[in-house]
């Protein structure tokens, strides 16, 4: 299946992917209205070091630890291979956060449910918005 991969040496550390992710998942079509003056809670996060930058989001692992730990059945894998979270079922125990080796399942802003990348299959984009807008091809969406 196609997944998001990170080419670390090309990452500029611009954090645009974070804004594009937050916009894609805002449910709005106007970026200014979606983001201006708001604290964003993207599903992709950039780590910055002295001279390294790279983005991290869900790896959609073949044998995903988060799926095995979910106490509510909120996490599931679709027939397309995408690991998804049903925020309505999630009670926010954060077992998935305890289990994800990549730190890619995140506490939701309200504290009541976890959140994660669903490859923009759950929003209006239909194609990973972080990939689409990465200015240096540091994030790609492909089969490997």
């Amino acid at each position: 299946m196609k997944r998001i991969y990170v080419n670390e040496k090309w990452c500029l550390g611009c954090h645009l992917c974070e804004y594009e992710c937050a916009f894609a998942n805002s449910g709005l079509t106007d970026m200014v209205r979606a983001l201006k003056g708001k604290t964003i809670h993207p599903n992709i996060r950039v780590e910055d070091g002295d001279d390294i930058h790279f983005a991290v989001n869900c790896r959609h692992c073949k044998d995903a630890p988060c799926l095995k730990g979910c106490i509510s059945g909120a996490l599931s894998r679709g027939e397309d291979g995408v690991v998804r979270i049903d925020k309505d079922k999630c009670v926010g125990c954060y077992t998935c956060i305890l289990l994800c080796p990549y730190g890619a399942v995140l506490p939701g802003p309200d504290g009541h449910a976890a959140q994660k990348c669903q490859l923009c299959t759950d929003n209006l984009c239909g194609y990973p918005n972080c990939v689409k807008h990465c200015p240096n091809n540091a994030i790609v969406y492909e089969e490997r």
Binding site: K62, V91, I97, L98, G103, R144
Partner: protein, 409 residues
Amino acid sequence: MNYVIIGNSAAGIAAAEAIRRADAAGKITVVSDEPYHTYGRPLISYYLLGATDRQRMLYRPADFYEKLGIGTRFGVRAERVDPAKKKVFLRGGKSLSYDKLLVATGSRPFVPPAEGLDGVQNKFTFMTLDDALALEKALTPASRVLIVGAGLIGLKCYEGIAERAGSVAIVDMADRVLSSVLDAEGAAVVQRRLESRGARFYLSDCVEKYEDGVARLRGGGEIGFDILVLAVGVRPNVELVKEAGGAVGRGIVTDAHRKTSLPDVYAAGDCCESTDALTGRQAVLAILPNACAQGECAGKNMAGVPAETADAFPLNAVGFFGLHVLTAGCRDGESYTERDGETYRKLFYADGRLRGFILVGCPERAGIYTSLIREKTKLSDVDFELLKKQPLLRAFSREARAGKLAQEV
């Protein structure tokens, strides 16, 4: 092939799914003494809290059994296994034949005897949906509740009922809350949060005697109550295997394939013992991720797909009124501590490897720590000084990171 699974929670469901993936035609029957579609057992406290409901508690979608072609015998208890005849005998006289059997019977509350306990009318345990529904029925805004046990079950019960009861007192023999997963300092943070919501703790104490609506404590105090919740501990349900002559230690004994000592009988989940990867000791690691992994492994082997489970270690994620407590591994060796108000981070390490951690109020990316324990990563191979402050992938080498982020995992 004819598969019978006794138990309808995490281990049993994971096994049923694994069997169906490997064997499209085999007959699968799930037996449970609970009359319900599979539900998330640990969600019962969230149900009382109002954070979920009966529909959203379903561990798998409503059409799960139908879609996977799984037969169900719910509300009927499996009473005996005859491994020679390959039969499971059910309460009421019926029986089920099997080619491969999975025992995933979980655990039950342990209720230590106490003087006067038999005479207590409104007493409950807190493991199942029926327990939660019964407790809910008895609760009134004026109820004075006494919870015996300040472990995960007792405290989650408290969170669930805190706003629905008049007062809640919690008694535990240990000198701190969550004594199985927290050290004294981490426990104190959690206790303060619970006390701020009105919980009254009686620690290093126990009920010596129950009298008419009063619990008399060993330490001399007394607590008036209308409702008693017993959350002292659990015991694995090993009897089906034990009485059939199978090996049982602290829990049902299995090999790495989850096979018991009985022919064609497998066991998985909280009813089993397993090897603690950190201590090397046999222990009942009654946690959901373990149950799920073991169930999946058993299911594969039952269906003829060779599989083994890796040794596990304790992992717990629990929250109280928004304060998240994530712990893993053991609490020995050297330690590093950071504290700031309600945030408490403690890492335990020995022989150059991470052995365990306690995170109170700082759950973010905790799984990066967990993976260091699981992979037995040498701390000399990562920037441990950086990791002490925060779990970051930046602390790994470029090559290690590429293995995580630049290839299929």
